[in-house]
């Protein structure tokens, strides 16, 4: 990955189109050591909710991810959804190369940045400027580039004099702004984001989106993990629903999110379905009747882009299967038509 960071700086424009992510039959196993590591236990329990009690009870660990496969190409914006402990963060960390697979394979081509938590690996006792410098050094920037990075980050994050104070005293909003500005200042080809981004205030989210959309338009890959279906609806065209470390469904954002919401709110009242947002020829309309448009439920978000190009037919190809088979060839929602 380091080498690719270097390459990015050297000849970024030519490389932009090469960004790709290939995940084949990925399995990640968390070892579980009894009693000798509190932090490990915490991690495992966070990753394993719902899996310890049942099938993994007698094993010395937890399967955080099981047989995950998907492929992403430039321009893809993938959302990950699933309950706590479904494996979203573990998957992001594996894509980032932090956890290494036990089985299967992960190939990531192109520079990559992961915004996995607000701390972003920053040392809370060091100042914002020092943390920016460390990040820049990690990316192999020169002294001049480091100065430019600090400039860029501080102006976007709008930290003012706080830049020279320890990160520890920042508000959570400031942390988010700093981390986001830092991770996006380096212009990764592949951006991995966990849901903490939602901690930002509304005004910042708008600016963040403008910056992020600029990046994604430049033929980059985004992988975003969150509970917030409205964010996914807006930002991603494809969603993978993770459940207990497995891919439960993989397909166009709207369909997967609708099924996810149905599963999350059994017996929810039947709502009026926005006309322009649901394909008329949907085969499972009887089930969908109760759906509540995810985007419409969030007042602060703008109206979902209703006129999504793919209207319906091809979507049905990967929607009716319950726990779907990971689609090796599928890399763009609705690409089948």
């Amino acid at each position: 990955m380091l080498r690719s960071f270097r390459r990015l700086r050297a000849k970024r424009p030519a490389d932009r189109s090469e960004a790709r992510v290939d995940v084949d039959h990925l399995t990640v196993f968390f070892p579980l050591y009894h009693g000798n590591s509190r932090s490990l236990k915490k991690t495992v329990f966070a990753a394993a909710t719902g899996r310890l009690g049942r099938d993994a009870q007698h094993r010395p660990g937890v399967q955080a991810l099981r047989d995950i496969s998907f492929h992403l190409r430039s321009g893809d914006r993938l959302g990950l959804i699933g309950s706590n402990g479904a494996g979203k963060t573990t998957l992001l960390r594996t894509l980032a190369g932090i956890y290494e697979p036990v089985e299967g394979r992960v190939r990531v081509q192109g520079s990559l940045n992961a915004l996995l938590n607000t701390q972003l690996g920053m040392n809370p006792d060091q100042t914002g400027r020092e943390n920016i410098m460390l990040r820049g050094l990690y990316d192999g920037l020169t002294r001049v580039q480091l100065a430019r990075l600090a400039e860029d980050v501080s102006s976007f994050a709008d930290l003012g004099d706080f830049l020279d104070l320890p990160v520890r005293i920042y508000s959570s909003g400031m942390m988010v702004r700093l981390a986001f500005a830092l991770a996006t200042a380096i212009r990764p080809q592949i951006l991995l984001m966990d849901e903490w981004i939602l901690a930002g205030d509304a005004a910042f989210l708008d600016r963040a989106r403008a910056r992020l959309e600029g990046m994604v338009r430049g033929a980059d890959i985004l992988v975003l993990s969150t509970h917030d279906t409205s964010i996914l609806q807006d930002w991603c065209e494809r969603v993978i629903w993770l459940d207990q470390g497995r891919v439960r469904e993989d397909g166009p954002a709207r369909d997967v999110l609708r099924h996810y919401q149905q599963a999350m709110t059994p017996g929810a009242p039947v709502d009026d379905v926005p006309v322009d947002d649901v394909p008329v020829d949907d085969r499972s309309v009887d089930v969908d009747g109760q759906v509540q448009d995810p985007a419409a439920s969030d007042p602060k978000e703008e109206i979902p882009q209703g006129g999504d190009p793919q209207g319906g037919d091809d979507e049905s190809t990967h929607r009716d299967a319950g726990p779907s088979i990971p689609r090796a060839g599928l890399h763009r929602a609705g690409a089948g038509a």
């Binding site: 990955m1 070892p31 960390r93 980032a96 690996g121 040392n123 006792d125 460390l134 990690y138």
Partner: protein, 272 residues
Amino acid sequence: MLELSGDRSRHALRALAVQDVLDGLRLWRLAVTLGWLDIKLRYRGSMLGPFWLTLSTAVMIGSLGVLYAALFHMNVREYLPFLALSQVLWGFLSTLISDGCTCFTGSEALILSVRMPLSVHAFRVLVRGLLILAHNVVVIVAVYIYFSIWPGDVLAMAVPGMLVWMLDAVALTLLLGAIGSRYRDIPPIVASVVQIAFFVTPVIWKPQQLGVHAWVLPYNPFFALLEVVRAPMLGYLPSAMTWLMAVVYSVLLLGFSWWLFTRARGRVAFWL
């Protein structure tokens, strides 16, 4: 291009470990900055800054030097320079060992946030140790000037010893760091081993005081490694046996550390 797979063959593991060390070396500016910021942070807001290290070392050596010279019936002029050197060098080794145990657990947030070569953390610990050493060397220089001592040309022979130390330091840090992140009992165990080693190794007592039993000293790895740097700085060459054992122990350490590192490298993140 990053490619990771469940392939646990020796070849694949070794390739990744080599890559880790090479990438770590390429990121030397990051390691230096991390180590430097660690020191800066520790003394942020204090008046003397890292020179508190210099001051406390000076006070300790001044008082212990006079006290032990009296206890051991040696003259201060002969004993105090020895103690100053021994204490400072031992301080470097023991700090390195204890920091090595926590070099990965202490960087948990960083390791779980970005993919970074693990060797960077080892280099960081080494840089931190060297910075502290540099502040303490001031005391040695002061002692040498005060007693107008000059070890002579033999001082240059400390350089190969120091090079061996650098290699051993990285190997030891990677080794202890990996074991320390898997078994959290390691830091206290290592701390007590180092404590015992401090007393059985000629640090505050001189090797000559062992008399006819001095032949046993080179078999103590702590002595062999300490002596290859300390002796030239005191103006004499370490014995061939001492050098031989220092090399033997270093080779064993490097081999074992590499063996373990290739296997543990991909697992450390899961152990944190």
